[in-house]
Symmetry: C2
Subunit: 224 residues, 2 copies
Amino acid sequence: MKDIQILDLKKTILKDNDADAEKLRRELDAIGTVYLNVMSSPGSGKTSTILQMVKLLKTNYRVGVLQADIDGDTDTRTMLDAGIPAIQLHTGGMCHLDAQMSRDSLTAIGAKDFDLIMLENVGNLVCPAEFDTGAHKNLVILSVPEGDDKPLKYPLMFEKADAVCVSKIDAMPAFDFDMARFKEHVALRTAAPVFFVSARTGEGIRALCDWLVKQMQTKEYGHG
Amino acid sequence: MKDIQILDLKKTILKDNDADAEKLRRELDAIGTVYLNVMSSPGSGKTSTILQMVKLLKTNYRVGVLQADIDGDTDTRTMLDAGIPAIQLHTGGMCHLDAQMSRDSLTAIGAKDFDLIMLENVGNLVCPAEFDTGAHKNLVILSVPEGDDKPLKYPLMFEKADAVCVSKIDAMPAFDFDMARFKEHVALRTAAPVFFVSARTGEGIRALCDWLVKQMQTKEYGHG
């Protein structure tokens, strides 16, 4: 078993996180690294989805993964076991990451050696949406078992999404999840595209990767 | 359709929330009302589990429900349609409730007319655990699709639990959820009992209600 690198994140003192996030994006542009912030509830399948995406993307791109959690290291272990460079971030109880915490993490993994860094944010559908991490794009994942009403209850998270991914679609038969109704609810908050995927069967992963690669190639950076 | 009462919660100025929470518990004791704080991730089945519990409990007890959300009113609608007294709380983006927000909500629903008030906290496995709501007991729900590793990643939430409820066990065949392993992970954080339920089939709801009724009858109040 490889040793897991754990970074204990420190609380940021800086007041203007939005300005710092913009600065971080310019720093990343200067070294040619794209930074994707992946957000969802706990247990929505962030790790599994990221894992399947990286397996496809790593043919053409150097991809690294930042795993943020309150505690634990199981997700980083999963990535390392699959041969994917990853480090574990511990937020020390904090419910989100801001730009400075991102910068510290990107430095720790050595962002300049990667074309793409994917951040698995803390599992939380509220707080991470309130803090710009400095990422070029935000991917919001919602799993089928959570229900199609969630964009109504967690509006800010969906407003901040550049793409929305519905995960665990293989479990669709066991749950009352209406894809059309979900899309309607999402459309109230954002014009972002919606992808339906199963990390288990691989369905939909290619389309999600194609979206991400297009963002990387066209340099359509910045949230919006 | 009944009109839904919506309470827009205000941010609390008070500094010492812990002391205020103790004060609220004594206020509730004085009027003979038990207050249960139900916490989980978004989409873990809080509403469905509460609904099934109240259907059993209301034979012997006057039960009211407080539905906290960032936005929306679907859960309160569900309760009212089932003939259960409920009001909708809007946190205005806040990720948790504190004691004063609880007090305002309990006043709004008229707590003295109820034997039991159940609070459906904001869907979030991080922040609500950091704030004592003044509830007598905390019930933490985790759904099968979220995975059995969550006590490792969200330790504080499980430390604060007086009972842990695993929901959606009817979906067990579709997911890799190891009940024994989950219990081991919970035991690292708390000695609280673990219940396995399905709101869909009704399995396990009776045992969970029996636990709650025992707390109410023995007046074993106060967290811990």
